[in-house]
Assembly symmetry: C2
Homo-oligomer: 411 residues x 2
């Protein structure tokens, strides 16, 4: 049993986390949110109160913290008495926040893999470069650390486990992520442009035939026929969850497919070929050192401003193949979220919504003890049933399609 | 009679100017070249000696100068004893260099209109915003200032005058600039990317029906059937020469057409719509103030590096319509340059070659007294005949197409 939640970060996903924590503060206790810029955290709390999202009267406080400063985060954890930390800050702060949790005994969870600002697409498995090096330290300290518990990674890992539990052997896990919504801008990314582009500028790693395979972005595309959003083109992309699922299901081919329209691909291709997506600094004729990608981020719309006008649906699905009683079986598990409904409920668009609800479900399960495992895990290593059931309740229902049709997945 | 030439600038066009001055140093006297970075000027002189381009033994010296510092330029003019200044530095330094010429009595010439770094596309006529305000000062000081005497503006203005001299009345001047060459890169501009893009991000001003007309870039396109390069699509664009020709031929429609491939337009459109071509600073998330356009310049290939692999032809033409003896007449005057031949002769690509040879021809005419008019003029205000004849000699022959076929234009 753990109580009191500290949210790290004050971006679009943090906004959703804050609202969903507030909606379950009877189960979570005091709420705190910390950001480098305290005003952003305060604005989120204001929006929570505006929607009257707090289920019961309780604490929700904003704090300023530099999350790159592990000691400062640890001090904040101690001062606030938080036993659960939901890290939805930039992926550059994962390790310092995790260290603070190991030091204080708080449970840790995040939604994206740690990144070094100066490096893009390190060698696989990505979790091995930073997170898993702290696995023994978590175990020794009895610290629960749930890595990548947003939607993808996160829910899609849990689904893979749920599907695997229905089979004797898993031979393929294909994760498909489609945003069929429209923000009405010439171009915008749905979350931090810097992080968004960093995902696609490196090698595309997939796990196939028991080994890491390398492709270029947009090299391998496939049309998928999907519920809700229909036929959609998606491209094999590098993504966090491939790197843990490959370790946990080494006999399966594990691939991630991201949907892109031709316009996105064109803009991306121009920027990448010109060198404007580089994380390495260039020098202007005037001698100013500047990272091109940070300038691209500066000129693009702030993703948090997209929510009010966003319409349409997302669709994220796992296609899991395997064998059961000697016969081939295939299961599809999916969720579709609606951008407008997400905005009406929590003031965010659907991409932030799908990323922000799952860590709150995980926090509730840690608070109740169900998922408070006292060590470091990726999402597929935990019992999927209570998590899927809880998501069904709090806004992200899972549906399954197999030989018996299309229906809610619940236990 | 004037002697000794100071070249301001050390970019791709300055390289051509240096080589062509050297080839005529018997007529021009001592040669000097000055740049903010003296090493760039020294490299140009080294390439001149490598090609053994000096016609007769003589002086060619490099100097460091900040051309934004008018007093420093004046001191350099005095110290070197130069009576002719060819300004092929950035268009941001025109006014300070012109002031230094007015102060010292040296003849001035440039190849592009003055620009304020913080402003794009000021109100027409552009020359009225800066250059023409110094017309009286030039006249009083007896200073020859030839504005815009590259190819376009420059040769195309002279051609317009030559064609007008064949008619009783001019009703239309259409200038078409096509680069049908290939540099083999994903994307590159043929001269300073900052200046190149600044040309196309503002309003397209043309002079039609006796008034300034406004269009957006790429709004008006037309296919042109041309000698050497065949059918080419060109788009009405803003350009310097429209702003003086409209003043000197107010009864004519004056338009400038620039050829663009679909790939250039796509890259330009993406960059412009994202705000990456803006001359106004933005602030990164880390608080660094940076002008996006300067970052785009920093990541693009340095135009001077394109020359060795450049192949194909340029074609620049004037289509001049009017009346002669009560009948409608039309004349086309054009030049085609070859990128590879330009590189073999002077180590530059064809775009730099066409821009750099004409000011040297003008300098020779000023040195000989023919064009040493002791006041400020645009190119179409001077006698076109000696200039066209001289260009025929030194590498940029003019050809004419009218009722009597396609032939060399000479006097």
């Amino acid at each position: 049993m753990k109580r009191n939640v500290l949210i790290i970060g004050a971006g679009g996903v943090a906004q959703v986390v804050a609202h969903k924590c507030a909606q379950s503060n009877d189960r979570l206790g005091d709420l705190h949110i910390a950001s480098r810029t305290v005003a952003k955290a305060e604005a989120i709390i204001a929006s929570v109160h505006e929607k009257q999202a707090m289920k019961v009267a309780g604490v929700f406080q904003a704090h300023a913290v530099d999350a790159m400063d592990s000691a400062a985060v640890a001090a904040l954890i101690r001062r606030t008495g938080c036993q659960i930390v939901i890290n939805v800050g930039s992926p550059f702060v994962n390790m310092t926040v995790l260290d603070a949790c190991i030091e204080t005994g708080a449970a840790y969870m995040d939604t994206a893999i740690h990144e070094d600002p100066a490096k893009i697409c390190e060698t696989p498995p990505w979790y091995g470069n930073y997170e898993w090096k702290k696995r023994d330290a978590c175990k020794e300290a009895g610290v629960t650390a749930i890595l990548g518990i947003g939607f993808d990674p996160g829910v899609v890992n849990v689904w893979a486990r749920a599907a695997a539990d229905m089979m004797d052997r898993v031979t393929g896990i294909d994760i498909v992520d489609i945003n069929a919504g429209s923000h009405g801008k010439y171009f915008a990314t749905n979350f931090d442009p810097e992080i968004n582009f960093r995902e696609f500028t490196g090698t595309v790693y997939s796990w196939q035939g028991g080994a890491w395979q390398e492709n270029r972005m947009f090299e391998v595309g496939r049309e998928w026929d999907l519920p809700v959003v229909g036929k959609q083109k998606a491209y094999m992309s590098g993504h966090d969850e491939v790197h843990s699922l490959a370790a946990n299901y080494p006999d399966a081919d594990v691939r991630f497919w991201m949907g892109f329209g031709d316009h996105y691909i064109n803009v991306f291709t121009v920027l990448k070929n010109l060198g404007l997506l580089s994380e390495q600094p260039v020098k202007t004729a005037e001698g100013l050192e500047v990272v091109p990608l940070k300038v691209v981020k500066a000129v693009l719309p702030d993703p948090s401003t997209l929510a009010p006008g966003y319409t349409g649906k997302t669709l994220i699905a796992d296609f899991v193949k395997g064998e059961k009683d000697g016969k081939p079986v295939e299961v599809m598990i999916y969720n579709s979220a609606d951008h407008k409904e997400a905005f009406l409920e929590v003031g965010s668009q659907g991409i932030s919504y799908t990323a922000g609800v799952p860590p709150v479900a995980a926090a509730i399960l840690v608070a109740e003890g169900t998922w408070d495992v006292g060590t470091m895990v990726n999402a597929e290593e935990l019992d999927p049933k209570p998590f899927i059931n809880l998501l069904n309740e709090i806004g992200l229902p899972s549906r399954i399609i197999d030989g018996q049709g299309d229906r809610l997945l619940s236990y």
